[in-house]
């Protein structure tokens, strides 16, 4: 495999990522299932890097899952998104930083639609004004939070305490990167590195000392879909997609999966539990699972933040084997202690625990 060929593609798909002043919008899944990631993103940008990141409490869901499940019409979601733009406009922000790949895809789709069909933009302005008396500017850039972490990956590397290296052998840790479909498959030009060989997560892993695995099913969807998992009986379809990926990556013995999409992170993690329960199969070495991390969790880990503050314990597949390899210290007894010091009940049936 020639790395130069990939570098040529990465050079072609470079995206303008502003240096400062982000209007941040959250992800429904992330703030519910692994809230430490968004908390750390804000901390990273605001405190570590000294950037201005603004979050408006009036921001709502983008209704993306409803949209992709055919319960929210396109006109409605355009108006919901336009309202978010209005909040950004009101605060003087031009660059939207989106925590969710589904939302990111939707924002892109809407802004592209407005470019090609200006009458839909006018209609949306009218709907929003009638409903809320708000007005908005179309943002200058639509950013995914992984774009921002990518932008500052080398600054993070310069503050690194525990690089992605097996501290006992000095070997780089092997990692799988998984890009959410809606990050670049719909609009390759808006994703760093495009759709076939995205660079967003590869750039982070390499900058932090790890080695990226290019396995055959790398480009395959995790199976998240939308309406496909809403009904329990359908979920085998979703899970089978993840399974196909695990089977394909297994021979490479990855230490962890790094994903940039909330749905992928959640499903690739939780399906490992389901498959283990149903089929008795795990895909890591020595019967372990493969931890699936967010880029903020990984950034926090390499920078030496307390793993429990980052919330890595809120996945089904636990990260202790990875942290042991990286030489990251952690206190087992504090794993499930709440902010107020009270003890939380430890989840059951975790993998790698």
């Amino acid at each position: 495999m020639k790395q130069e060929g990939k570098k040529r593609i990465w050079k072609e798909f470079q995206k303008e990522i502003p240096d400062d002043h982000f209007f941040f919008v959250r992800s429904c899944i992330r703030q519910s299932f692994f809230p430490g990631s968004e908390q750390f993103l804000i901390k990273l940008l605001r405190e570590e890097l000294g950037k201005d990141i603004y979050e408006d409490p009036r921001h709502t869901t983008c209704t993306g899952i409803g949209y992709h499940s055919d319960v929210v019409p396109f006109e409605t979601i355009q108006t919901v998104v336009a309202r978010h733009f209005a909040l950004a406009t009101e605060r003087g922000y031009k660059d939207i930083l989106i925590s969710c790949v589904t939302s990111f895809g939707i924002y892109e789709e809407i802004v592209e639609t407005w470019k090609h069909f200006p009458e839909t933009l006018e209609k949306t302005r009218e709907y929003l004004y009638k409903a809320t008396k708000r007005e908005f500017e179309v943002p200058r850039t639509i950013l995914h939070t992984s774009d921002a972490v990518y932008k500052f990956k080398d600054e993070i590397a310069s503050r690194m305490k525990y690089p992605l290296i097996d501290h006992r052998t000095g070997e780089p840790l092997k990692a799988v990167e998984h890009i959410g479909c809606h990050y670049s498959k719909m609009f390759p030009k808006y994703g760093v590195g495009g759709a076939e060989f995205p660079h967003t997560l590869v750039g982070m892993i390499e900058s932090w000392g790890g080695e990226v695995i290019d396995y055959p099913e790398r480009r395959h969807c995790c199976g998240f879909g939308f309406r496909q998992y809403l009904i329990q009986a359908d979920r085998g379809y979703s899970m089978s997609n993840s399974k196909k990926k695990f089977e394909s990556m297994e021979p490479y013995k990855p230490e962890f999966v790094l994903a940039n999409c909330p749905g992928c992170t959640m499903f690739m993690d939780k399906w490992q539990y389901t498959i283990k329960e149903q089929e008795g199969k795990t895909y890591g070495v020595n019967g372990q699972g493969i931890p699936v991390l967010t880029y903020e969790e990984l950034a926090g880990l390499v920078m030496g933040y307390d793993p429990w503050d980052l919330g890595v314990q809120y996945h089904m597949v636990q990260s202790e084997p990875l942290m042991d390899k990286m030489g990251i210290p952690y206190d087992k007894d504090k794993k499930y202690i709440a902010k107020d010091g009270s003890k939380l009940e430890a989840p059951k049936n975790l993998i790698n625990a």
């Binding site: 359908d234 085998g236 399974k243 196909k244 149903q278």
Partner: protein, 114 residues
């Protein structure tokens, strides 16, 4: 094992490297004209069985070439051996013999339905 109300699905993909093509090899050895099929579907269009069943000789030809034998087994017994497929084939494939040979191969190689 826990019951989740769902389970993983067998992939639909034709896994060429895993499939077994001994039935195909047997046909090719005894009926080399089989190589000439271009998938036009003339055979299937005129097929008596195709009118009332899901048998398609065009599809069977492809499935044999890929080694998807289970599906062939299910379909091939619908053939009434009328011979119209051979009559219309623009590439001169002896399709009727392909059917015979497939049945034979299943019996010989799989010890099937003996």
């Amino acid at each position: 094992m826990k019951n989740f109300g769902f389970s993983s699905i067998k992939p639909r993909v034709i896994d060429y490297d895993k499939n077994n093509r001994t039935v195909l090899d047997y046909i090719m050895e005894h009926e080399p004209s089989f190589a000439l099929c271009i998938g036009c579907g003339g055979c299937a269009a005129t097929c008596s069985a195709a009118r009332f069943t899901d048998m398609s000789l065009r599809k069977i030809n492809i499935l044999l070439k890929r080694g998807e034998n289970d599906e062939v087994r299910r379909l091939i017994n619908k053939c009434m051996l009328c011979g119209k497929c051979t009559l219309v084939c623009p590439r001169g494939v002896n399709t009727r013999n392909v059917i015979f040979l497939t049945q034979q191969a299943f019996k010989k190689l799989d010890n099937y339905a003996v």
